[in-house]
């Protein structure tokens, strides 16, 4: 028993895992929040503001706590101020400025806005809010953030305390993303259209989810493509947790699932839903890989700068990267 527990305890308490992956997740989630609100800026009052008063009876059926009522109570300019505050908090979360505080502020503001209209939310919003909550317990600002540039503050609590919470939050995030895929696949295999390989065809014919109209029709009506897309998407979702266990297969799984999300997002015009899933998947890429990517980017950027005559940057790029 001791032999089983010791590696688990060591994994849990000795080192914070996936900090670079979490940084990427944080950056993309922050980007999703503030850019999405900018895209929706002209329609904000109809989507989440005064124009949602008609949905009040249905909204009251949901059991959201009253402290999330800021957007519901706000109208006119106060609503606009809260909306701008949400954009700002998402932007600062992306930059990693007072990361933990901004994570909590983004979660609170986003959720308060989300609850104003029961018919605007999507599966992506559900994943976003859960992951933001878990991110509050992690050190997602340890890399590629303004916090990281300022240096590491002296921790007020014992190190093991933060490390344990960080790693448990990592487990919960990974579990959540795995559950999304596996549960979705198990629901799908109960339907004949997924089993006969035609399922992908149907949503692409629905007006709300076909922004390309007939442009993509030659592709979306080709039987081999429809068949492959239908079966591969179910297989990859169903097998996702198994594929994560073996490193070479993990890379293949991540490439395929990211490709699937990009295809869905672009073809169906639901890019933000796809981006949320991609953001969370990115924390499954190991920190060693992220470090290599960072190193490569620095080297390439340095080389370009060097070509422009800035030798100093080349030197800094060849130095060991932070955290090595």
């Amino acid at each position: 028993m001791r032999q089983l527990l010791e590696p688990a305890t060591t994994w849990l308490m000795e080192a914070k895992h996936a900090r670079r992956g979490l940084a990427v997740t944080r950056i993309v989630l922050g980007l999703i929040v503030w850019t999405q609100l900018l895209v929706n800026l002209p329609d904000r009052h109809y989507t989440w503001g005064d124009g949602t008063a008609w949905s009040e009876p249905i909204r009251s059926l949901d059991a959201w706590p009253s402290f999330l009522g800021a957007f519901v109570a706000a109208d006119g300019r106060l609503f606009d101020l809260l909306y701008l505050a949400t954009i700002a908090s998402g932007f600062l979360l992306m930059l990693g400025w007072h990361t933990r505080t901004m994570t909590a502020a983004t979660l609170l503001l986003w959720l308060s806005m989300y609850t104003t209209n029961p018919f605007v939310g999507s599966g992506g919003d559900a994943v976003l809010r859960m992951v933001l909550l878990y991110l509050c317990f992690t050190e997602s600002g340890a890399f590629w953030s303004l916090d990281a540039r300022r240096g590491r503050p002296t921790p007020r609590l014992p190190e093991w305390f933060g490390t344990t919470l960080h790693n448990l939050a990592v487990v919960l995030i990974i579990h959540q993303v795995v559950i999304v895929y596996v549960a979705s696949a198990l629901w799908k295999v109960q339907s004949p259209v997924w089993l006969d390989g035609t399922a992908v065809y149907f949503p692409l014919q629905v007006e709300a989810y076909s922004p390309w109209r007939d442009l993509l029709h030659p592709i979306t009506s080709a039987e081999p493509i429809v068949l492959a897309a239908t079966w591969v998407s179910v297989a990859i979702q169903l097998m996702f947790p198994v594929l994560l266990l073996y490193r070479p297969l993990r890379a293949i799984a991540l490439v395929m699932i990211t490709g699937m999300h990009l295809s869905i997002g672009l073809a169906m015009g639901i890019m933000y839903f796809s981006l949320v899933m991609i953001a969370v998947d990115m924390m499954l890429v190991s920190d060693v890989t992220w470090r290599r990517i960072e190193h490569e980017v620095r080297r390439r950027v340095g080389r370009d700068r060097w070509n422009d005559g800035d030798e100093r940057l080349v030197r800094s790029a060849t130095e060991p990267v932070r955290g090595d």
Binding site: T9, E14, S184, A208, F273
Partner: protein, 274 residues
Amino acid sequence: MTEPSDDTADDRAERVPGAAGEAAERPSALRTAFVLCAVLVAATQLVFITAAAMPPNRASEALRPATSYQNPFFTQNWRLFAPSPISSDRSILFQAAYEVDGELVTTDWVDWTDVELGAVRQHVIGGRAGYVTNKFHSSLAGRHRALSDEQRRAVDVVDPVATPSWEEVEQRVTGAGADPSQRLRAQRWLTYEGSVIALGTVVVQARHRDVELVAVRYRLRTQAVTPYADRRLPRDEREAARPAPVERTSGWRAALPPTGAELDAVERFDRRHR
């Protein structure tokens, strides 16, 4: 994303300063108790989330009372394309009646879903408002299906002159031979009916600001997409091969006047996407 080297190299690089030294020490009782509690909470969450997310099975049914704490924050509903993907266009249309010289005049139907789709049509990154009535449609249809035939007949008012008050609608639908469970369904239907009529009132009022609406009704339209077998036909023939739309028109209900701010917000949206 490939990973040729051993993962432990990763962990060594990220080790918390001082953690190795701490690990060598005997853990304090406080630390042990905290870690055990944290692990227990996380493990419970893992089990309950798994149970709530899976399709119905014996284990998840047994755990259902314990998983109710997840709603609404941790609600596990991953069924956008499952079990069967969306395969029909769904629209909500509104019509209203107003009085002119003692006579009731009805407006044209307003296809509000079509207006909302203006926010997403030909946009790879569209507005979130583009799907509001698309999602509302299935909730409304579900609430109506839950009513008994007798309840449906009781509130099916086809003449705007005979529009009942909301109190009358409630009495009719909850009193129409309804047992307690049917009354509960009727109350839920009434909530959704009130919301859709409030939306219909503000939508039609935004286009007819100079009249006072007295009654509103809505129509749910569903049209399946072109069958898979006909997908290779030319565009016009594919459209013709679609099954005929299925429509349900509600009874007339008393209008629910909006606030000025709500009216302005809807009018601006209508102008932008019409």
